[in-house]
Symmetry: C2
Subunit: 332 residues, 2 copies
Amino acid sequence: MPLDLASAEAGLSEELRCGLDRVARVFDEHLRSDLECVEGLVVHVARYRGKMLRPSLTLLSGLASGRAAITREHETLAAVVEMIHMATLVHDDVLDEAETRRRGRTVNALSGNETAVILGDYLISSAFHLCSTLGSPAVSERIGRVTTTLCAGELLQLSNRGNDALDERTYFQIIERKTASLIALASELGARASDASDAEQRALHDFGLDVGAAFQIQDDLLDLLGDEGVVGKSVRKDQEKGKLTLPLIRHLERMNRDGRSEEAREAFAAARDPERHATLVSRLREDGSIDSALRTARELTERARERLGALPASPARDLLEAMAGAAVERRF
Amino acid sequence: MPLDLASAEAGLSEELRCGLDRVARVFDEHLRSDLECVEGLVVHVARYRGKMLRPSLTLLSGLASGRAAITREHETLAAVVEMIHMATLVHDDVLDEAETRRRGRTVNALSGNETAVILGDYLISSAFHLCSTLGSPAVSERIGRVTTTLCAGELLQLSNRGNDALDERTYFQIIERKTASLIALASELGARASDASDAEQRALHDFGLDVGAAFQIQDDLLDLLGDEGVVGKSVRKDQEKGKLTLPLIRHLERMNRDGRSEEAREAFAAARDPERHATLVSRLREDGSIDSALRTARELTERARERLGALPASPARDLLEAMAGAAVERRF
C-alpha cells in the first residue's frame, strides 16, 4: 500500500511496485529466526508496513538520479531504512503507550512493553546487520550516524515533555532529527547506490529533509485533528504526553506568559476529553494556528520540489514531486 | 576497575590498564553530543562501567594471539562491544524494573522508562556507528549478527517468563544467546584484529562462549543468593520476573509435576519476602542444587581454560586463564 494520493498511485510504475514487493521480501527474509517466539513477533510487525514512504524514496531516488533500473543494492538499502523506521515505531508505541497501529494492536499492547523494547532492539540490530552485508563501510557509517541522530532527537523531545515554553526552533530541531534525518537518508542512499554525483546526492538528501519535516508536521496535525478510525493509529498522543507541536506552539506564542501556561496545561489535559479538546481546536482554528502550521508544511514541500531541479527530468522525478505533496495532503 | 580477583589484579600488566583507559576514552568521546540532555545521560551511563570484562577480553585476546601491542583497532572494537553491553544493561534494567546498578540509580529509576528505552537505542546505534569507522564490513557483519542473536535470546527468555517447566536445554540456549555470544565475540574480535589464524580465532571465540555461560550462571547465583549491598545492583529480580535459573531448574527437576508447579510459584512469590526466600534457599542448598549449578559453572571455566591450549604460552594467555576463573569466583 504505497503512499496515498490518487495521482501518485495512478502514476506509480510497475517497476516501483515490483521493487517494493522485493524490498518487503528482503525485509521479511532477513528477520527470519529459528525461534518460534521471534517469528511470531516478526510476522506481526510486518503488518505495520504501510505507506512504504522511505523505501519508495530510496527506489525512486535511485531511478531519478541515473540508474535505468532498480538494483538489489537499492532494495537492500530500502529494507534497511524501513527496518530502522519499524524499530522506531515499535519503541515509539512503548513511549506513547499507544494501543493501535495500522488498525492493528501495537506490540506493547499485545505482548507487553518488555517484549516491545527487545523487539525494537532486534529490528535495529537486524537493520545494521543487513546493511553490513552490502560491504560498504561508508554506507554503514551513514546509517549509524543518522540512527544515532534520530535517537538524540527522541531524547530531546523527551526532555521537553510538559515544557509549555517549547519554542519553534527546538520543535524544528526535534523533528529534523527524529523524523526528517532518516527520510533524507532514504533518498540520499538511493542516489548513492546509483553512483549519482555529489550534487545530486545532496539535492536528494535535502529534498528528503524538507519532505520529512513536512511529513512530521502533518503527522502532528493528524494527531491533533484526526480520528483514530481514519488515521489508523492512536491519536491525541502528543497532548497526552505533554508534547507541544507546531499549531499549539504558534497558538501559545500569541498569548501572554500566564495565559500561555494555562492554555498549555489545558491542551495536555484535554487529550482524553473530546468536548474540551474540540473547544481547544476551535480556538486554534480561530486564531489561524492550524492554517499556519499547514502552510509551513506546504512551503516545505514546495522547497522540496524545487530541490529536484538539480536532477534531469524523468518519470521518477515526477513521482518524487508527487510524493512530496502527498506527505502533507494525506489523511492518514 | 577491572575484573575482581586478587591474582588477576596483581598480574594485570600496565599495558592492559592503559589500554582499558584508552577504551574508556574512545567510548566517552564517541558518545558525545551537542545536546545537553544527551550529554547528561551519557555521563551517567559511563558510571556503569564496571568490570570491563568484555574490553579486557578483546585486548588480552589480541595480545595472546600474536600482536606485541594493543592497537587502536583493538581499543575501538573493545569500546564497540562494551557499548552494546551497556545498551543491554540499560534496557535490561527497564525490563527488570531495577532501581540500582553499580551502586547508583538506574536510568529508568532516574529519568523514566521512556528515556531509558531511547538511551539504549542511542547506545546501540552509536556502537554500530563506531564500528563502521573501522572500515571492515566483515567486522560489522559479525557485530550485527551477534547483537541480533543477543536480542533473540532476550526474546526467548521473555517468552519463558513464568514458565515453571523451563528445561535446562532452553536455559542454556537463553544464556548462550543473550550473554555468552557477546563475550565470545569480544574475544574473537581481539584475535581477528591481531590477524590470528582461524583456529586461534575459533579457540578464543569458544573460550568466550564458555566463560560467558559460566559468568551468567554466577550472575544468576548472585541474584538468588547475593546481597544488594555487596552485589551493587538489585537482586531477586529473576524470581520476581518469573525467570527460572539453573539451581532452581535442577531443584524442580527433582520433584514430581505437582510439587514442581507449587515450588516454582513459591520461588516467584518469595522474591520480596526475605523469610520465605531464605527457606527456599535452604531447600536448594539441602538437595545440592546450588552446589550443582556452581559445579557446572566451574566445569565451563575449566573447559574454557583448556581451549586456550590452541594459543602459544604468554602472560596474556595466563591472564585470560585467570579471568575465566574470576568470572565464577566473583562476589559481585
